[in-house]
């Protein structure tokens, strides 16, 4: 089932949660709505679900206009941020709820309900916990119950609000992979909300980056990371180091620090750099003169993260260097080094 959002807007009192925006989601696609809190992503998701009504615009599921269709009749699966499991019902009854709530004519027989719930619980590996109450489960298990409950009614659209936000890192990674498999197996269209760029980039076929109730960019994760549309998208998608200064004599200069470059018309006074685009050396050369002091070193993961400070920075920089470089330079807290940027990015200043 494809989803078409056309010119949807929403206000809450005097604050505009969503400016008129449009979005096409293809059948079977998995789309992540990514943005900081207050960017309107959850509001958009709730409008698609029908839990919230738009002030203007329309929502179509396939060819069917569902703008005025009640949530109950939209047949969407919705997974809530804090699971919203029915606390007084067993895991089994939670999953069975959607089937039991159907009008008498469409309701499957008790035996059929039992079989389907049992099958789903096996699918989410919770069949041994069917009799437990939600409070007796761990966060990850509760989230799996919530998913099974949403899937029990065989929705064509699955909507997830910060599905893994409240879980610890390891469980989150496992559930992500698992959701991806489930998505491929069932073939539903899914839209999920997250503020975690890694999660959005890993799970989605396409990512919708939002800020202040507007869509900033819609693209595949690769395209998004390689060609961010604007400064906001760039800085939201990863760690960002900023160098600001005045352009003179083929250099962007800030105090004693400078980077050699042509004057850019888009952003003449600023460049942005990713941590992996910084090289650390013991001496400056003709490309740049950026003296820094090492403030912290954390050798965790595939590369070493080095926090850098200097008088000419407005906020500390972060460099990620290979273990090989780390062994060669042996930087420690207080070491004086120089940065040579291998690449940089320039964007038009953000309109306030």
């Amino acid at each position: 089932m494809s989803i078409t959002v056309s010119d949807v807007s929403r206000r809450f009192g005097s604050t505009t949660a969503l400016h008129p925006l449009s979005l096409e989601i293809k059948q079977g696609e998995m789309v992540g709505l990514l943005g900081p809190s207050g960017s309107g992503k959850t509001t958009l998701l709730r409008i698609i679900a029908g839990l919230e009504a738009p002030d203007s615009g329309s929502i179509h599921f396939g060819d069917r206009d569902v703008t005025r269709v009640h949530v109950r009749k939209r047949r969407v699966g919705f997974v809530f941020q804090h699971y919203a499991l029915f606390r007084h019902m067993s895991v089994f009854e939670n999953v069975a709820f959607g089937l039991r709530a159907r009008p008498a004519g469409e309701r499957p027989s008790n035996a059929e309900i039992r079989d389907r719930v049992q099958h789903l619980l096996e699918r989410v590996r919770l069949d041994t916990l069917a009799k437990r109450l939600p409070a007796q489960l761990s966060g990850g298990q509760q989230q799996r119950v919530a998913l099974a409950r949403a899937l029990a009614v065989e929705p064509e659209v699955l909507l997830l609000d910060e599905p893994f936000g409240a879980l610890d890192a390891k469980v989150r990674l496992e559930l992500r992979r698992w959701l991806r498999h489930l998505h491929e197996e069932f073939g539903f269209t899914s839209v999920f909300v997250t503020h975690d760029q890694e999660e959005a980039l890993e799970l989605s076929d396409r990512v919708v980056v939002m800020s202040n109730g507007r869509i900033e960019q819609i693209d595949t994760p690769q395209a998004l990371y390689r060609a961010p549309a604007n400064r906001f998208v760039f800085s939201f998608l990863g760690e960002t180091n900023r160098f600001g200064g005045k352009h003179q004599n083929g250099r962007l200069q800030q105090g004693e620090a400078w980077i050699a470059m042509e004057r850019s018309n888009i952003a003449p006074e600023e460049v942005l750099l990713r941590p992996h685009e910084l090289m650390l050396t013991t001496a400056p050369d003709g490309r740049a003169h950026l003296p820094v002091r090492v403030d912290a070193v954390s050798p965790v993961g595939s590369d070493v993260r080095v926090e850098l400070t200097a008088d000419w920075m407005d906020t500390p920089w972060l460099a990620s260097i290979t273990h090989h470089d780390f062994d060669r330079l042996q930087p420690e807290r207080g070491s004086e080094l120089y940065v040579i940027p291998s690449r940089w990015h320039q964007f038009a200043p953000e309109s306030p």
């Binding site: 009749k73 699966g77 019902m89 709820f97 709530a101």
Partner: protein, 275 residues
Amino acid sequence: MKRIGDGAATRIGLIALAVIMTTLFLVIPLAGIFYQALAEGMAPFWQNLTSTFTREAIGLTLLIALLTVPINLVFGIFLAWLVTRFTFPGRRLLQTLIDIPFAVSPVVAGLLYLLLYGRTGWLGSILSEQDVQLMFAWPGMVLVTVFVTCPFVARELIPLMQAQGSAEEEAGVTLGAGGWTLFRRITLPNIRWALVYGVILTNARAIGEFGAVSVVSGSIRGETINLPLQVELLYQDYNTVGAFTSAALLAALAVVTLMIKAMLEWHTHRREKTA
């Protein structure tokens, strides 16, 4: 390590104070009621208990409670639902207005109803044209009791429903549940203990209410006298044993109510522990 304020002298002093206060202000008066009721032996006690007037007073008291509790049960649920599940202009004002029956003296409430629904009152004059008399009759007593006890259920439900939020109900709707299914299978099970608690409080107050009903009752013996009014009436008739018999009956009802309440609290506490 010693905790602050945890000295033998402080502890013994505070416990002694609590015991003395409880004995002086609660236990002795309660025992006194039963002592006075039985002061002249079993026979007069039994005679008073089974007299026509007492039986009629018991009947009226139960009738008032029986009507008040369901009315305020439904009203309280609606009000709590409205206040916690919807936002609308004046929501905060409404939440404050709910407490008016608590803030206003019951006697004042009774007087207001008398002014409004009395024969010459604003609404009463219209009703009396239709030959409906509310004041100085049992319907008026039910009316003021409903007023006085209307916050109990809502007050129990609102904080709980606010804390629980509407996520579970939203989850229910997305799964296709209709309004009634939602209420019966999700909302009601989640609030049932608060509801029972609210009903117990409403019931206790409906049985014991004196101030408001005394204003609107008109003291017609055998017709508009409930147990609390009966206590006063008999006492002023110098029938001490009779007055204390009715009082003992009321006290017994109160004790039973409190015991049910304590049992429920113990039960919910245990549930929370095992959950």
